[in-house]
């Protein structure tokens, strides 16, 4: 079963979208792919202006403590500065955590943004919505994922979807299911394609790119022909939207039968050494796949580093002794090393392939963590200040945008709100935020995001 979007959205006739997909899949005898792309993309931007053609977002679910990672406060009291020490990077004056020694060698390519903050709730979902969409919202006004907006504005480059999320959607992070990883009102044609498989698994396969068992190529062609005849009949009698649906069926068939698409998802085409360079784990192999997908023509790839904050090692360092028991040891042995191995490998690889100059890599999270350690030696949610970073494209590396006060409690200068990050990505991709709109609820045109780009980010 193909998953496009992870939330139930009621349709006007009362079926949930999930039900609709199930029915559609059954009707098509196992062919669920046509649901992936329901509408034609619409171009609205001068592509020639775009220095950035693609984006990879690495989303650190759970959120690292900024004081423990990229905004260290070595002069602060021990209950603030924590257990880790800073190290010098390859940019004079910029220090980061000792557990990112490989990233430290890439700092000349990275722009740290140390003054992020937002003013809504301190749940993971608030932060996810902000960083995935540039908006906070409720179930009545779901806003589209940035990749869905990019898909809507630019359309597809190849048989591959424009917007892919690896390895799967964000699941339970505590406060509902509005994570900002759906297309919202820009339409189902722009829903993210969720891999929903573990690329680190030895038996990894993308189920949605497999012709159903027992169905030969000849039968597939016959079904396409039959579908084409049905679509011709529909085209004569129904609306424009039906015709767009027809087109999406054709695209889906191309995806299903495209050797190029299959190869983009096939990590076995990489050398063992390359796979080792990213780390033989779910996150590392997702980063490698992100590079392959960008190479294959995907415009926007999101890698979710973890899909939940419960019962497993992740960035959500409450140290509560129960279901949220991540501690400094998880950071030191698992999380920081895993990131520090995969992220520089991705940067190197993109650069060697000639893709870094046209691909921005954005490392984002929901919020920071409390400047002062809690009673158990952990840190709790803290949306008042945190650090994220970008590199690639025409992002000017080796700089720090904004700063926090002496304990990392508040932005000290140049405070940055989440929509500014996304506005910067849109701007870098050549989108004029003043003139580009998209259909909102009720087809009313709305701006992509209500924020200005961070001009300092760009070279």
């Amino acid at each position: 079963m193909l998953n496009i979007g992870n939330e139930k959205i009621p349709l006007c006739h009362g079926l949930s979208r999930r039900s609709f997909l199930s029915i559609g899949a059954t009707a098509l005898a196992g062919m669920s792919l046509p649901n992936l792309m329901a509408l034609e993309a619409q171009g609205a931007v001068d592509g020639e202006r775009a220095r950035i053609k693609n984006c990879i977002t690495i989303f650190l679910v759970g959120s690292p403590g900024h004081v423990d990672t990229w905004d260290m406060k070595p002069q602060a009291p021990s209950e603030v500065r924590g257990k880790f020490n800073p190290i010098q990077t390859n940019v004079n004056g910029i220090q980061i955590c000792e557990h990112f020694p490989l990233m430290a060698r890439k700092m000349d390519k990275i722009s740290l943004i140390r003054s992020l903050h937002h003013r809504t709730g301190a749940t993971h979902e608030n932060g996810q919505r902000w960083m995935m969409t540039g908006h906070d919202f409720n179930a009545d006004s779901v806003k589209p994922h940035t990749g869905s907006v990019i898909s809507r504005v630019f359309g597809q480059k190849s048989e591959l979807p424009a917007n892919v999320i690896l390895p799967g959607p964000i699941g339970n992070t505590g406060a509902g299911n509005l994570h900002g990883q759906t297309a919202g009102h820009v339409g189902s044609a722009h829903e993210p394609f969720f891999l929903n498989a573990d690329p680190a698994a030895a038996n990894f396969r993308v189920a949605d790119l497999e012709v159903p068992a027992g169905m030969s190529a000849a039968r597939l062609d016959a079904r396409r022909e039959l579908l084409g005849q049905l679509d011709q009949l529909q085209r004569r009698t129904e609306s424009n939207s039906t015709q767009m649906h027809d087109s999406s069926y054709n695209r889906a068939f191309r995806l299903l039968t495209s050797q190029r698409a299959k190869e983009a998802f096939d990590l076995n085409l990489e050398t063992a050494r390359t796979r080792d360079r990213y780390g033989r784990n779910t996150f590392g192999q997702s980063c490698l796949m992100a590079r392959r997908l960008i190479e294959g023509g995907v415009r926007y790839v999101t890698v979710n580093h973890f899909d939940t904050v419960f019962g497993q090692s992740c960035w959500d360092m409450h140290a509560d002794g129960g279901g949220l028991n991540n501690t400094y040891l998880d950071y030191e042995r698992h999380l920081c090393p895993q990131f520090d191995w995969a992220f520089p490998a991705l940067i190197d690889d993109l650069e060697q392939k000639g893709l870094l100059q046209e691909t921005v890599v954005a490392v984002l999270s929901e919020f920071g963590r409390t400047p002062r350690l809690n009673g158990r030696g952990g840190r709790d949610h803290y949306p008042d200040a945190w650090t994220n970073f970008l590199c690639g494209g025409n992002i000017r590396g080796g700089q720090v945008v904004g700063s926090t006060d002496r304990i990392g409690a508040r932005p000290h200068d140049n405070p940055i709100l989440p929509p500014q990050i996304l506005a910067s990505i849109y701007h870098g991709m050549g989108i004029n935020l003043d003139t580009t709109t998209m259909p909102g609820p009720g087809e009313r045109p709305v701006r992509l995001v209500e924020a200005e780009p961070i001009r300092q980010l760009f070279a």
């Binding site: 080792d276 033989r280 090692s313 995969a342």
Partner: protein
Amino acid sequence: MEQRFEGTPQATINLNGRRLTRSEVTNDWGLRLQWEIKRNGQVVATVNARTGLTYEHPDTAPGNYEVVLQMWRYVNYAKNPQGEFTASRFIDVSNRVTYTI
């Protein structure tokens, strides 16, 4: 989706005087990689081994030294009341080498 770690990491280390040289790790899980240094059977240092393929331990105290490359093996994040992992642990991923000062 719990993180998956495939294969078994392996590397070789060589000793030239006190200078250690390691190979790249095959089936690299991408987690913490460290030199574990023992003197007279006691661990005296664990040093991040990601930053390069060579390392020379600065300790010159007399004794018999034994060095091995280790990687963190994540099983789950369960910890005991003292905060130590109960199932996840470091495992050796290389041969051992010894030298005497």
